[in-house]
Symmetry: C2
Subunit: 111 residues, 2 copies
């Protein structure tokens, strides 16, 4: 790892609730699969385990993607944006990313 | 347009500040270029003009992407996610998307 965890967390601008949005993109197709939230612990667990973790705002708990469904996300790359307030994780998705069973959460086309 | 504006806005779950995150993805390369925020007015202006508009949280104002830089975003598709709390706009980007001059805002690779 190029940076240690403390340094990485220092580069990230969290909301007042200690969260940061994370976009998951398929490493092969480039498809944007979902957006969810991470807190510091989810970031640390993602970077150290290589398995993508999020913070569930509804359950108020750390959540390893796929822990119940089996639809895991293996991290390929972890990037932050220019002002450090958004994460982009490039991932390998097992099964559908969406809880509805759709491959991507963005299946509703408005225009 | 398949849906009218009132119907579309009713499908979107805004934060308590009346905002929703919007991911901009390049229609050709599939690259994720940036994430910014939209309010109801930005969504309406985006859908009716075809030019992507955001809400600037720092300036507290509607912002047509490229209005000063010329680095406009023309909307190709407008999608929402399964729970309606994130937007994905597929766009044609003129020039760099990032205010730093980088093509994408996600140029900082952590891992």
């Amino acid at each position: 790892m190029e940076h240690d965890i403390t340094e990485i967390l220092g580069m990230i601008k969290f909301t007042e609730n200690g969260l940061v949005p994370a976009i998951a993109q398929d490493f092969q197709s480039g498809e944007v699969l979902m957006m969810a939230w991470m807190n510091a612990e989810a970031i640390e667990k993602t970077l150290t385990s290589g398995q993508v973790h999020y913070w569930s705002r509804s359950r108020n708990a750390i959540w390893r993607k796929g822990e119940t469904s089996g639809h895991t996300q293996t991290m390929k790359e972890f990037l932050i944006d220019c002002d450090g307030d958004t994460i982009l994780v490039i991932i390998e998705q097992v099964g559908p990313a969406c809880h509805t069973g759709e491959h991507s959460c963005f299946f509703t086309k408005i225009l």
